[in-house]
Symmetry: C2
Subunit: 154 residues, 2 copies
DNA sequence: AATGAAATTAAGTAGCT
DNA sequence: AGCTACTTAATTTCATT
């Protein structure tokens, strides 16, 4: 019912880079009719292979010019402590991604703020609490999205 | 010429979550006519406020089930060394993001592989070279996208 | 079962007030 | 900006393999 064939893979790979392509463009690229392509795309959305389609907003316009990686150490406690924190951080506008990780840190956040001062405020409000044992900030000078080609499966 | 007003901000915020909304839906949400909304969206694309629109593919389907953060230390050398490495990594299918950062590490990569063994291979091929002084791998147990609401600007 | 071609419906675009 | 007409794309139907 939810098998993915090579046409589907091709479509996913195209839409991953540009979700605004028309049925005709997709048809051209994969070698099927426009109708068949769009039928497949719809199915891929239904079965969750395509989770969602989003617009990438320029960080400048979004007013978030400073990006940081924050490694958080959470003090030992109830097992759901990390999940509670995760939910708390997910609700903050400045937090763009949350990684639950192994190693010295427990959570790694990517944070975007309007300025370093805004980030300083952010840390004071959110990291100086009983829930956070320690944190380390890594300033991102530049970030790049990688755009993988058809994927030479490792 | 490229001023962003509050209607534009609202549109960006809507499309950031779901880029497949129709003019009518946008109109309903922001309080303008469908045509006006789409005109604005088109302009936002032209001025680069909307960088692009992409489909988010389920990691399972993409066949990349293991996610890692890699902190790379680059030996001192020509100033363009980091940029050369950045470009090299950007071309790899397993690398999804590249951060050029301050601190102990110089580059932080997010890497996605089909398995841990695949990642082991990946490190052998790409990190055991003269260009990499050392690296540290952080295994991501779970990752979450944060979905900021209208943004309580910090 | 899924495709392609044609017909229908809906969306996006352009012109005018 | 809004409204309306025009154009293009998406969706559905249907005959075909």
């Amino acid at each position: 019912m939810d098998a993915i064939d090579s046409f589907d893979r091709k479509l996913l790979d195209l839409l991953r880079h540009d979700a605004r392509q028309t049925g005709r463009q997709l048809a051209e690229a994969v070698g099927l009719s426009p109708a068949a392509c769009l039928r497949r795309v719809q199915r891929l959305r239904e079965i969750g292979a395509i989770e969602r389609e989003v617009a990438i907003i320029s960080p400048q316009v979004a007013g978030q010019t400073v990006k940081l990686l924050v490694m958080l150490v959470i003090p030992p406690g109830k097992p759901d402590r990390i999940d509670r924190l995760r939910r708390k951080f997910a609700a903050l506008a400045q937090v763009t991604t949350i990684y639950h990780v192994t190693g010295k840190a427990d959570l790694v956040l990517t944070v975007e703020c309007a300025s370093m001062e805004a980030y300083a405020n952010f840390t004071e409000v959110h990291f100086y609490s009983e829930d956070i044992a320690s944190f380390e900030t890594i300033v991102v000078l530049r970030s790049y999205d990688a755009h993988p080609e058809p994927a030479p499966k490792a």
